[in-house]
Amino acid sequence: MIASITEVKVGDQLGPLELFVSKDQCRGYARACGIEAPRFTDDEGALREGLPGMILPGNMSLGLITRLITDWIGSGPARLARIGSTYRVPVQPDHTLTIHGFVTHLHPDSRTAEIDVWMENEDGDRLVTGAATVEFKV
């Protein structure tokens, strides 16, 4: 747990967080969020839409990259103030996904840290990229 922004340095790494995301987990996310589009629940539905197979909802990828940041914050005196994400390439389940991040800027006056975050597949392709702002209380 980070007790204060004074403990954070530019270049500090977050994670990496390595996850195997199964098709069942993907279906579970779709169910939990009331998403019914077949591309998120079965390969046949995805193929009919011209996709190579089932894909993760973009919002699920956003949820996973956000986890890297909330894991880093833990129960410390900080909060995620903003996150921006770009879904660059469809993310397929039944793959190992690795989420990386590092601190790019610190703003002591506003007690905020800027973080770059991205999700890679096994080949090192960046599938989802993002940038976040974490606001510290102390």
């Binding site: 579970g28 969020c33 973009g58 919002n59 909330t70």
Partner: protein, 148 residues
């Protein structure tokens, strides 16, 4: 050539949804779906001692609220069918079990970008989430991309 659209589209709120009540079960299912184990979101006792004084939803839960019935028909189309290119979210207040969340949406901006694969038009729809106390919970910018 710059993309052409009716400027009256911009900033006009086209939809405000009915309030949706958040349940503890929904937060639990969401945490399970993304593998979230942070006690601030999953353990009522630990969360009570934490900065929010109780369970709150993980930040990305904010994107799970269904857009209104007229949301997609108000996303202007340019060329091919648009797809979700990403989201930008500003978090203002935590979402708690029992909160009743309303979404108001408007077209924030439309812009064109040319890359290696051709010209793309981006439509950004901003949804503002409010809770039952009238507090803003989050602003979500949904970025849709069309190929011309």
């Amino acid at each position: 050539m710059a993309v052409e659209y009716d400027p009256a589209l911009i900033n006009r709120v086209f939809e405000t949804t009915d309030p949706v009540e958040v349940t503890a079960d929904e937060i639990r299912s969401f945490c399970a779906a993304i593998g979230e184990a942070n006690p601030l979101y999953t353990d009522p006792d630990a969360a009570k001692k934490g900065p929010n004084g109780g369970i709150v939803a993980p930040p990305s839960f904010a994107v799970t609220f269904r857009n209104g019935r007229h949301f997609f028909e108000n996303v202007p189309r340019f060329g091919t069918r648009g797809f979700d290119a990403g989201k930008d979210i500003e978090f203002a207040a935590p979402i708690r079990p029992g909160d009743k969340i309303t979404l108001s949406s408007h077209v924030k901006e439309i812009y064109e970008k040319t890359g290696r694969t051709g010209t793309m038009v981006f439509v950004v729809i901003r949804s503002t989430l409010n809770n039952q106390h009238g507090e803003v919970v989050a602003h979500i910018d949904h970025r849709f991309m069309n190929r011309t």
